[in-house]
């Protein structure tokens, strides 16, 4: 076990994989200086500028070129800086990368990790705060990963780099400095949720930083003798439907919480699936927490208006139990 921050964890995973596999390389803007959040600090010194490549401000080319390089046998790690800028490379990701293998009848592979930091962070306003994970889940061909802890950011990054499919890898900007113990020997399977708290009373399903809030809520609820099961999906495609359904069958109660906009968010998929497949097991109202269909404003108090808080999650959990917040 090693103590690491979230940002160190994925950096270390990248570093180890670059040592293990010469075809792994990183590509994006300002990588030689670590990129925006220090995710690549030291890697250019260690692996040289070919394998940690500084690029022009050309998101379409970063994505498109990495794809071309993937098709000839390399394994690029693509840095998009803020997930928002990745929208400049949507054709490349959705029409090209996601579809190539199928469209070409299995002739090609695009083993790529596409890193797109998501989420609310420090008054960054509408063009630097988005979480569009539900978009990518909707696109056949893509794997979607949302790690919430240093351990997962280590283990899932390794799994993502090893994966032969294109992986959209969504780190949350607000937890770069989150510390945690990392067991380097722990391997994860993409598509397997983490049950971060076990409980019989209510199931809390979440991912990314909001999963951490759910854990805190479970701890709060425990003091009220309510035992919440916290399922951190960790990857949204594949998503661990089995674990969620089993938990809801046990607890009879479900709260799904995510930071992204509720309307059309992935929470709808989770709620719909539970309603369809375990509707009979429900013993309380279904609750879904997501951002209002408004935009992220700059002023801190306005930014807070679209934030999903621990209080909200706690309240929702209590409501599924027919209780009100203390």
């Amino acid at each position: 076990m090693v103590k690491m921050t979230y940002v160190e964890a994925s950096r270390e995973a990248v570093r180890e994989m670059m040592h293990a596999d010469k075809t792994v390389w990183c590509v994006g803007e300002d990588l030689g200086r670590g990129s925006v959040f220090g995710q690549y600090l030291g890697l250019q010194e260690e692996f040289g500028p070919d394998r940690v490549a500084d690029t022009p401000i050309s998101e379409a080319a970063i994505m498109g070129a990495a794809f071309g390089a993937a098709m000839v046998g390399t394994r690029p790690i693509v840095e998009m800086r803020f997930s928002d800028f990745a929208l400049c490379a949507t054709d490349e990701l959705v029409n090209q990368i996601a579809k190539a293998r199928f469209m070409f009848g299995g002739q090609s592979r695009a083993p790529m990790v596409i890193r797109k930091p998501i989420g609310l962070w420090r008054s960054s306003a509408a063009q630097h705060s988005q979480s569009l994970e539900s978009w990518y889940v909707h696109i056949p061909g893509l794997v979607v990963v949302c790690p919430a802890t240093p351990q997962d950011n280590y283990s899932m990054m390794k799994a993502a780099i090893k994966c032969d499919d294109p992986v959209v890898y969504l780190e949350h900007k607000n937890i770069w400095q989150m510390e945690g113990e990392v067991d380097k020997s722990l391997e994860v399977t993409l598509g397997k949720a983490a049950v971060r708290r076990s409980g019989d009373d209510v199931t809390l399903v979440s991912w990314s930083d909001t999963a951490n809030k759910c854990v805190a809520v479970a701890d709060r609820l425990a003091t009220q003798n309510i035992h919440a099961e916290v399922i951190d999906l960790r990857s949204l495609w594949p998503w661990d439907k089995g674990t969620v359904l089993a938990s809801v069958r046990k607890t009879g109660r479900l709260v799904v919480a995510h930071e992204s906009v509720a309307v059309g968010g992935f929470g709808a998929e989770v709620v719909a699936t539970v309603a369809e497949q375990a509707g009979d097991a429900l013993r309380g109202p279904l609750r879904r927490l997501g951002a209002p269909r408004s935009l992220v404003a700059y002023a801190p108090n306005l930014e807070d208006q679209v934030r999903i808080t621990e209080d909200m999650i706690e309240k929702a959990a209590l409501e599924t139990l027919g209780k009100s917040a203390p």
Binding site: G68, P140, D165
Partner: protein, 335 residues
């Protein structure tokens, strides 16, 4: 444009170039029949009739393990890169044994076995992808090169700038080929293109750019050979701008009534690359009969190819769920 000294021509290569152009022409004539007459092709096909010199001339400069990225109008490039005509025709008809298993069709034709990494349904998208293929090659220390073909319309898309700048900055072995047939779908490209076009833009991005009569297959082949040699010697990326003409409509369904009435006929008369190459070969002493045989051989081949493709079954239904991805099931989730 470069002048070609016909005296120095190699007759064997000249014949091969003609033969390849005849094969491309015959393939596309059959493909059009398959679409129009036989209704066996449901999706759009974009013929390159009249543009065969570009495909034949450029691809002969490549080895099998060199890489090609092409466009929606990519039959000629693919065939000239060495793909199997029957597998291609099967693909156009969406049949089993098509080079993409019937999943791609004309617009996504690809044959990775001969380095052909795909046509593309999105104009200009292949420009960054081709640059990236070269990037990968360079990272792996391979001595292969990449040809990235696109149309005159594609130079107005952002990826043109981003991909060429990229190749130049990373000094990648790519030959960018602008196959300029003067039209972007129903629009005369000049009317929506500022400045002097592909070569000028490439130069502004630091590339050497060569402009060639794209209906002169010998000139195209020579230019491509020279560029390929420079790339293999470690030279920086270059642009080859080939001026040609799209003799058909944009797709095989398009009557192209938006064109000046006799434009296509005049081009056919003056600039058909096959006719021009026949004239050249005749001048070199090759008999009419020999030339007709080349023509007939191609025709016979492609008529048989269509017949065989048409007799091939459709792919197994289950392949609709194969090769989506390894991780997670593509199967129905909700019904």
């Amino acid at each position: 444009m470069k002048q070609v000294n016909t005296a120095t021509h190699n007759t064997a290569r000249a014949r091969e170039l003609l033969a390849m152009m005849e094969r491309i022409r015959a393939f596309e004539e059959q493909a059009i029949l398959a679409a129009e007459r036989d209704k066996l092709v449901l999706g759009a096909i974009h013929p390159s009739i009249g543009q065969e010199a570009c495909a034949a001339g450029v691809m002969q400069a490549l080895n099998t393990d060199d890489i090609l990225l092409s466009t929606h109008r990519g039959h000629g490039h693919t065939l000239a890169k060495g793909a199997d005509a029957l597998a291609m025709m099967r693909e156009l008809l969406g049949r089993e044994g098509g080079c993409c298993g019937g999943k791609g069709g004309s617009m996504h034709i690809a044959d990775f076995g001969v380095g052909m990494l795909g046509a593309n349904g999105v104009v200009g998208a292949n420009i960054t992808i081709g640059a990236g293929a070269a990037h990968g090659i360079k990272l792996m220390g391979d001595n292969r090169i990449v040809v990235d073909v696109f149309g005159d319309g594609a130079i107005n898309r952002g990826p043109f700038l981003e991909g060429i700048n990229w190749a130049s900055v990373f000094e990648l072995p790519v030959m960018f080929v602008c196959e300029d047939n003067q039209y972007s779908a129903t629009t005369k490209t000049k009317s929506v293109t500022a400045g002097q076009g592909a070569a000028a833009r490439a130069k502004s991005l630091g590339l050497k750019a060569t402009v060639i009569d794209g209906n002169n297959v010998e000139a195209v082949a020579n230019a491509a050979d020279e560029i390929a040699a420079r790339l293999r010697a470690g030279g920086p990326p270059e642009m080859l701008h080939l001026i040609t003409y799209r003799r058909t409509g944009h797709t095989s369904f398009d009557p192209a009534t938006y064109r000046p009435e006799d434009e296509s006929a005049r081009e056919e008369k003056l600039n058909d690359p096959i006719a021009r190459q026949r004239t050249l070969l005749a001048g070199m002493g090759v008999s009419e009969d020999a030339l007709d045989t080349i023509h007939q051989t191609a025709q016979t081949e492609m008529i048989a190819v269509l017949a065989k493709a048409a007799a091939t079954p459709f792919p197994d239904d289950n392949t609709a769920f194969l090769d989506v991805q390894d991780t997670g099931s593509p199967a129905v989730e909700a019904f």
